[in-house]
């Protein structure tokens, strides 16, 4: 079993009127199965309302399944005994950087998680230093979070999670509120964590460019997993992605259009470099 395993997960939001009668049931996550191995970089893509954030909140025991089971590091999230172990194993970074920074100074915020876990003072300082260095924010340790840019704040949030020494980080649309520069900073920091520290990363996003480096991509639609595979497999299906109201990265789209026009270019081109090569080969042929 991998670090995170989800079996037949169903989650229903129950809407009630003022008297508490059930008005309607929305199935946000519908029969999802996942198995994520330690050290993987997994992306979950989906349109707004596809249930991807709801799924993410199950992986950290913030929400509990209506039906089915979620195991984090072999522990069932429904079992309250393991609640804190699970939250420590699977750290979570949220969308809005302002609403998840608790400390008034960067280093204090990073220390918040370890403080809650009861880590001794000396070790907290070591952890804070090492996590801030891991996301490249060490020089800002004495700053007030209010004076940082969005990307920097989000890197501080990531450092705050790493300081808890998790085996897995779940990032719930960490770049949705950032500008392109901030997005790049954050994704670079996340990739470095996965490459260097071998932390399992689950990235939830709707930006296609961010998923091209992942080992596996899941595409969600209406609470179900609609597609899964490597980024190349996923982005080869341009038409299907359009049906799911998702875009593909610009290069991939360009390659696809050219192919439609009869140029001999392979499907599923992900990066500019690959595209340049393909064009070269194409030019040689003609």
């Amino acid at each position: 079993m991998g670090i995170i395993k989800v079996k037949d997960l169903i989650f229903e939001y129950i809407r009630r009127d003022e008297e508490g009668n059930v008005e309607g049931i929305t199935t946000a996550v519908d029969d999802v199965n996942l198995d994520i191995s330690q050290g993987d970089f997994v992306s979950i893509l989906g349109h707004n309302g596809s249930g991807k954030s709801t799924l993410a909140k199950h992986l950290n025991a913030i929400l509990y399944p209506t039906e089915g089971t979620v195991w984090v590091d072999g522990k069932d999230t429904k079992n309250d005994e393991y609640l804190w172990d699970i939250r420590q194993t699977a750290g979570m970074v949220f969308q809005n950087p302002d609403n998840q920074i608790i400390g008034q100074v960067v280093e204090e915020d990073v220390g918040f998680g370890p403080e809650n876990m009861g880590v001794p003072t000396k070790e907290i300082w070591e952890r804070v230093e090492e996590s801030l260095k891991a996301v490249g924010m060490y020089e800002f340790r004495k700053h007030s979070p209010n004076k940082l840019s969005g990307g920097q704040k989000q890197r501080v949030s990531i450092a705050g999670v790493i300081a808890m020494h998790p085996k897995c980080i779940i990032l719930d649309e960490p770049t949705a509120m950032l500008d392109p520069k901030g997005r790049k900073e954050v994704i670079r920091a996340v990739r470095a964590l996965n490459d260097v520290e071998k932390i399992t990363v689950i990235l939830i996003t709707h930006y296609m460019e961010e998923v091209i480096y992942s080992d596996k991509v899941y595409v969600m639609d209406k609470g179900k997993i609609a597609l899964q595979g490597t980024p190349r497999e996923i982005f080869s299906q341009v038409e299907r992605l359009r049906e799911l109201r998702l875009d593909v990265p610009q290069v991939t789209l360009l390659a696809h259009e050219l192919r439609q026009e009869g140029f001999p270019i392979a499907e599923g081109i992900l990066t500019k470099e690959e595209f340049a090569e393909a064009i070269d080969r194409c030019a040689d042929m003609i």
Binding site: W84, N99, I102, N116, M117, T121, N146
Partner: protein
């Protein structure tokens, strides 16, 4: 612009007062305020003034920053002075129509002025030399005994520090909402007091809703980072007393003792001379 607002009025510099443990400063401020109300006599106030001057010098904070705090109480001060002057019964010095200024009135008004201004200056020394963070930490630590009677000390301190963290964010948000509404023709400037207050309602409603949303997000983020109240929690920056802190406590005791014995001290000096 609004991002730069730091709450409280912390003045960044390095002095012995800045380096003192926040608990010492809290206790000292309370002791000083109490002493102002116990003291009753010229000699005592001279001692209090000397103590205050030494503290101001030691804190290396320019005096004008402390006077700033006085602006807030000018009105209050004026009223107390007028009422005390006119309404204290006693030996009249100066009479206009039915109102007379008495000797006792002058004395009372003078003492009250000194009391209130010393109080404000004394407490601003504390807020100018202590970061809001240290203050909440200090309060949490000092109030710890209250835990025995089920006062949620840790929770109160946590709420205070979160409030401090979110004030600049909410200010920025207010600014954004105001601009958004002004762009659509809202008017926050003109009109009388009531009209202005009314125009604030469409500002407050979205602000409060967004504050609740933020609170919800923050609570989730805190839980995701294993926050479960004050139990089992360790501190990244634990407060611990150093030698200078004990010395400071001794200074406070000395000050109180000197103040309480001021009368006798004066008599001794007089006798000796």
């Amino acid at each position: 612009m609004l991002r730069d607002i730091t709450l409280g009025q912390y003045y960044q510099t390095d002095s012995i007062i800045h380096r003192l443990d926040p608990r010492v400063k809290l206790v000292a401020t309370i002791a000083f305020i109490l002493s102002l109300f116990i003291f009753d006599g010229v000699a005592e106030y001279v001692i209090a003034a000397l103590f205050l001057i030494i503290m101001i010098k030691l804190s290396k904070v320019p005096f004008k920053f402390m006077v700033k705090g006085m602006k807030a109480i000018v009105f209050l001060l004026a009223i107390t002075i007028v009422f005390n002057l006119l309404l204290t019964p006693g030996e009249p010095v100066f009479t206009v129509w039915k109102l007379s200024i008495t000797k006792e009135g002058i004395r009372l008004a003078a003492f009250l002025t000194i009391r209130l201004s010393f109080l404000v200056i004394g407490s601003s020394i504390m807020t100018l030399t202590t970061t809001p963070n240290q203050l909440t930490d200090g309060m949490e630590s000092l109030m710890r005994p209250l835990k025995k009677i089920k006062v949620p000390v840790h929770e109160i301190a946590m709420m205070m520090s979160i409030a401090l963290r979110f004030i600049p964010i909410l200010m920025e948000e207010t600014d954004k909402i105001m601009k958004a509404q002004m762009a659509r023709g809202a008017d926050f400037e003109s009109g009388n007091f009531i009209k202005k207050a009314k125009s604030l309602i469409p500002l407050l409603v979205p602000l409060i809703i967004s504050a609740f949303r933020r609170a919800n997000d923050l609570a989730m983020a805190m839980e995701a980072r294993c926050y479960r109240g004050g139990e089992h929690r360790t501190r990244m920056k634990p407060l611990c007393y150093k030698k200078r802190d004990f010395a400071a406590y001794a200074v406070i005791l000395l000050y109180l003792a000197a103040g309480l014995m001021a009368d006798r001290l004066v008599k001794m000096v007089v006798v000796l001379l």
